[in-house]
């Protein structure tokens, strides 16, 4: 770990003004991702701005009948909130499928959205990785890792986002509200918060360095069933090989792209009266990657869509 300065933000303005004058600084929330990466010298911020005690942990209903979840609400708090559980059960399930209870107790909504990929070559500072060291190459391309992108990858990077929560948020059309030091507030769709790698995989999101996520807002849940499922070799405490969130007629896929992947082709097919299996196949038609991975996502998506329609719990 490289030496770094540490500052605890008194309030949001303090956090933002510190960020504005500290190039390379990072906000520290639960620390469950950032500190691990710092120990491995994958992240080397000269300064940490601790936002963990800012009063941004409320979960409240919005005037429009939706829900506003503060960026510092812990994963555990969100998953156990009665409003979330009753109206957005797919979100509660997605969060509960993440990490272990110890991690969820520390992990925050903002940190979960912003966590970095768990591509094993990204996590090993000795290996070429365009995301960590631009231009060094991509070790995953001919590598051994099993969870590679099926959608939206580039020649530069084929890593996936490991966030489970954001898959459900994308299916609910959630929006992240951010603020910058100059006071400007932005509303960014969770679905597209993360950039696709393109030529610059080192840039995860469009957020400016001094841009702090304040909250995530969910519109009222859509009509129709919800379902969530995550596939993994062991029953807990590991990232998804693939996941699917369904909310009404919206479908999002997880661990298949650098962002939660809204399955627009599948949604369109469903709107045209396709069966779940046909809809899943329509989405996978544009997938690029290994056949086994495609088969897994196709079968999973079809089954979870079917399940949501039949209204059976997962």
């Amino acid at each position: 770990m490289k030496p770094f300065a540490f500052e605890r933000a008194r309030d949001v303005d303090h956090a933002l003004s510190l960020a504005a004058v500290s190039p390379g600084a990072r906000f520290l929330a639960g620390g469950t991702n950032l500190l691990d990466l710092m120990k491995l010298e994958i992240e080397q911020p000269p300064r940490l701005i601790d936002v963990g005690r800012l009063p941004l942990a409320d979960i409240a209903e919005t005037a429009g009948g939706g829900l506003r979840i503060g960026a510092l609400a812990t994963n555990t708090a969100v998953a156990s909130d009665p409003k979330v559980r009753s109206r957005y059960p797919a979100l509660a399930r997605a969060i509960l499928a993440g990490g272990s209870v110890q991690l969820r107790n520390k992990a925050t909504v903002g940190g979960n959205l912003m966590q970095r990929t768990r591509c094993p070559y990204f996590m090993d500072a000795a290996k070429p990785c365009n995301k960590r060291l631009p231009g060094s190459g991509c070790s995953a391309m001919d590598g051994l890792s099993s969870t590679l992108a099926l959608f939206g990858a580039s020649e530069m990077c084929i890593a996936v986002s490991p966030s489970d929560m954001s898959v459900a948020l994308a299916a609910f059309d959630a929006v992240a509200e951010t603020v910058r030091a100059d006071g400007s507030v932005q509303r960014r769709s969770v679905e597209t918060l993360h950039r696709l790698p393109g030529e610059a995989p080192q840039v995860d999101t469009d957020l400016a360095p001094d841009e702090l996520i304040l909250a995530v807002e969910l519109p009222p849940p859509p009509e129709g069933g919800q379902a969530w499922r995550k596939v993994r070799a062991r029953a807990s405490y590991t990232g998804a090989l693939a996941s699917v969130a369904v909310a009404g007629d919206r479908v999002a896929l997880g661990a298949v792209a650098a962002r939660p992947w809204r399955a627009r082709a599948a949604e369109a097919a469903l709107a045209d009266g396709a069966s779940p299996a046909e809809a899943a196949a329509a989405e996978l038609a544009s997938a690029e990657g290994e056949d086994g991975r495609k088969a897994l996502v196709r079968r999973l998506a079809a089954d979870v869509i079917r399940q949501a329609r039949e209204g059976v719990g997962s």
Binding site: M1, K2, P3, K39, L40, E41, S100, R118, P120, M123, D124, A126, K127, S139, D142, G143, L144, S145, S146, V231, R232, A233, R234, A235, S236, Y237, T238, G239, L241, A242, G292, R293, A295, L296, R299, L300, D303
Partner: protein
């Protein structure tokens, strides 16, 4: 030398009058561990503020260090020393044995510019804090000259050679027997490279007292560690005092010392300060040993009734080029089933990767994943129940050497297991049971693992407060050694557990071989028992010879021990009083155990039967264990709770081997894919929903005076095979490439059109 006959007479442990033997008492050191106050090697108090060391690992698989630049590291905050092969203090050349009796030879760190595997130590930094040491480690600049390296096991199989000093074991004529058989199975299984993944990384705290070094380290073998360090430093072993009191898991991976021990000792000597060194989680994977990959071809030939006529298990495994090790995956098959024509053996591929070595149940753990599935395949071909097939091949004597069994309850394990598990509810037709989207199936396998007794000693002191303190250069790697030694000592002397203390893990104490090969309890425990018996004789003689004792003048051989007293008829005296009269030091004796001269005249093993029920997700290919149950026979049980915890822990290892654990070598770099516990998938609580085990009543009077045997490794044996057989029964796909991860299961389901 004694013979097993000498052990046959009843003794305090086998009589078990106060019932301490077998009692499920809590762990002796349990409170310290759950309150976080047991000082592990990295945490022991030091006589002065310590320095912290960080080891820098190579990122090359094979070649040489072309250049090093330590200037930035030396200039970094808090840094006290930076060493590479160019400036590390002198150590004895690798393999030196100044003392021919040393159990381990010199094992120098940073010895030369040669790099022989990824993750090898190439530099060492000492600094005032662990953070500064690690940060400076990142500033050491090393350039390498790479050389060609053999890194991939499966593509190097054609280079497999004989295992050093070994020949195939042949009985009868396998080829002829196999060819003549009415029914055959011929298939090949693969078990991948696995890591121990101990909770506690290897770590050492060291300081010098004059010309003597004191080290606290995490190692399974006290003498091995002491001797390795002494030889490396080039000093007699009595100049090394090694402590290893609490160990956060070993599993074979800490059977030897690593560079943390050497560099901590050298660092402390050169700076005059105590030094702490620990490997990082990431380093643990490649800087220490692993279980090698094994490819196993099994051929079975039987008649239509299911009697085996020919049986072969041929294993190919790997090791590091200059560190020979053989995973004896075929050995267990020599003693398991009857068959007149037999062939077993091992071939070895040498690779330029980290060192392969012993990991819990070396041999059986991967080996049984093949033969026990082959037996399932044969049973299906014959239309026989898998248990019935095994019973038909139950041998009268050991099929390898015609020796009688000391005791063998394998059939009883299978039958009781079948009954308690509900085996009769298994539908033999694969894929026939469906619950929602889950295919459900059951499988079974047997377990066998050798039993061993090694020479060991112990010391025992009785003091005037009536407390007996057992001292032994033994280790407790989390298995419960402290506890069972207290139980044995208490029962032998007629004391309660709060009148017994146990002190372990100190090279100045009477030596024991340490923990490994499931020999620990039998070996250390028998030494403790024998030492207790020496103490009884000494105390009886003291009483008989002391006019102040109420037992004065009586025959010491008739005296008995109970309730803290020495007793004869209606006269008695407390042990406390006896010890107090002997002086302020009380009474101290030493004793020990050695293997009986004729112990090897019997075939001695532990046995079991494993049963598993799994669900296979028909959509995704995920396999989830639903239920697992095992019945085991492993001699007299010293502590029902700890033995069961060892056995069920072993079964859980089998779950990992079957379903999740594997660490592939990246053929481009020679590194392992997974370098943390988020990536290397050992089972977690959610994987183990319903798992239980029963230990049969047994005493093996050929094993040792107490009739006990080891339980530490038996639980793994066959566990994974039972799961693989259950997967087949659930969904009808035979997968022989472990672990059975969703991608492989799904590919097989898709191939069947499911």
């Amino acid at each position: 030398m004694s013979t097993v006959r000498d052990w046959a007479a009843p003794n305090p442990v086998t009589e078990n009058r106060s019932g301490l033997i077998g009692k499920p008492v809590d762990r002796y050191e349990g409170r310290l561990k759950v309150t976080g106050t047991a000082p592990y090697a990295y945490e022991v108090e030091t006589p002065a503020p310590p320095l912290f060391g960080h080891i820098v690992s190579s990122t090359l698989a094979r070649g040489r260090i072309a250049s090093v630049d330590i200037s930035a590291a030396e200039a970094a905050p808090g840094v006290v020393r930076v060493w590479t092969h160019l400036n590390v203090p002198a150590q004895a050349a690798r393999g030196t044995r100044l003392n021919p009796r040393s159990q381990r030879a010199s094992n120098p760190a940073l010895e030369s510019d040669r790099v022989e595997h990824y993750g090898q130590s190439v530099a060492f930094v000492l600094a005032d804090t662990p953070e500064n040491a690690r940060a400076a480690g990142g500033l050491v600049r090393i350039t390498y000259e790479a050389e060609s390296a053999d890194l991939d096991f499966l593509s190097s199989l054609d280079q497999a050679g004989p295992a050093p000093g070994e020949e195939d074991a042949r009985i009868g004529d396998f080829e002829a027997g196999y060819t003549a058989s009415e029914v055959t199975v011929d298939a090949t299984w693969f078990s991948p490279l696995q890591n121990h993944a101990q909770m506690e990384p290897c770590a050492t705290t060291a300081w010098w007292e004059g010309d003597k070094v004191v080290v606290h380290t995490s190692i399974q073998m006290v003498k091995g560690g002491q001797h390795a360090l002494a030889e490396t430093l080039g000093v007699p072993s009595d100049r090394v005092r090694l402590f290893t009191r609490y160990i956060g898991g070993g599993f074979g991976g800490k059977g030897q010392s690593y560079d943390d021990l050497t560099l901590a000792a050298l660092g402390a000597r050169e700076t005059g300060r105590p030094v702490r060194v620990a490997y990082t989680r990431q380093q643990m994977f490649q800087a220490t040993i692993h279980r090698p990959a094994v490819q196993m071809r099994v051929r079975l030939g039987a008649d239509r009734s299911g009697r085996l006529n020919a049986m072969a298990l041929e294993a190919v495994t790997h090791c590091a080029r200059n560190a020979p090790f053989v995973e004896h995956a075929a050995n267990f098959a020599r003693n398991l089933y009857a068959a007149p024509n037999r062939l077993t053996g091992h071939r070895l591929v040498r690779l330029d990767i980290p060192h392969a070595g012993a990991m819990r149940a070396p041999g059986e753990a991967p080996g049984m994943l093949s033969l026990e599935c082959a037996m399932d395949e044969l049973a299906e071909t014959l239309g026989l129940d898998p248990i019935e097939l095994r019973i038909r091949n139950e041998p009268e004597v050991d099929p390898d050497n015609a020796k009688p069994f000391s005791v063998r309850q394998l059939v009883r394990c299978m039958q009781e297991g079948a009954q308690q598990f509900g085996w009769e509810r298994r539908n033999p037709v694969p894929g026939a049971v469906r619950e929602g989207r889950w295919y459900v199936g059951m499988g079974m396998a047997t377990a066998i693992r050798g039993n061993f007794l090694l020479p060991a000693k112990a010391g025992l002191r009785l003091t005037g407060d009536g407390v007996a303190t057992l001292t032994q250069g033994m280790t407790d790697i989390g298995t419960g050694t402290y506890t069972i030694l207290a139980q044995i000592t208490g029962e032998t002397l007629g004391l309660t557990l709060d009148q017994v203390r146990v002190e372990l893990g100190d090279s100045d104490m009477p030596p024991a071989p340490g923990s490994g090969g499931q020999f620990g309890a039998a070996t250390a425990g028998s030494a403790a028992y024998e030492t207790g018996m020496v103490m009884r004789r000494r105390l009886a003689e003291l009483a008989a010879g002391d006019p102040r004792s109420p037992l004065y003048g009586e025959d010491p051989t008739l005296m008995d021990f109970a309730n803290g007293n020495i007793v004869l008829g209606n006269r008695s005296e407390s042990l406390a009083a006896l010890a107090a009269r002997a002086g302020p030091e009380g009474v101290y004796v030493e004793g020990g155990i050695s293997p009986a001269a004729d112990a090897r005249d019997w075939s001695q093993h532990t046995y079991g039967a494993q049963f598993a029920e799994v669900g296979v997700d028909s959509v995704t290919g995920e396999v989830r264990l639903r239920r697992m149950f095992g019945v085991f026979a492993a001699g007299r049980i010293l502590n029902a709770k700890l033995a069961k915890s060892q056995i069920t822990g072993g079964m859980i290892w089998g779950v990992g081997a079957a379903l999740t654990e594997s660490n592939p070598v990246d053929p481009r770099y020679g590194s392992f894919l997974h370098q943390d516990l988020g990536g290397y998938l050992a089972p977690v609580h959610a994987d183990i929903v319903n798992l239980d085990a029963v230990l049969l009543d047994e005493a093996d009077d050929k094993a040792n005076p107490m009739g006990i045997k080891g339980v530490g490794e038996l639980g793994i044996c066959g566990a994974g095979a039972a799961i693989a057989n259950a997967v087949y029964n659930a969904c009808g796909v035979r997968l022989r490439d472990y672990p059975l991860t969703p991608d492989k299961v799904l590919a097989a389901l898709e191939a069947k059109g499911l």
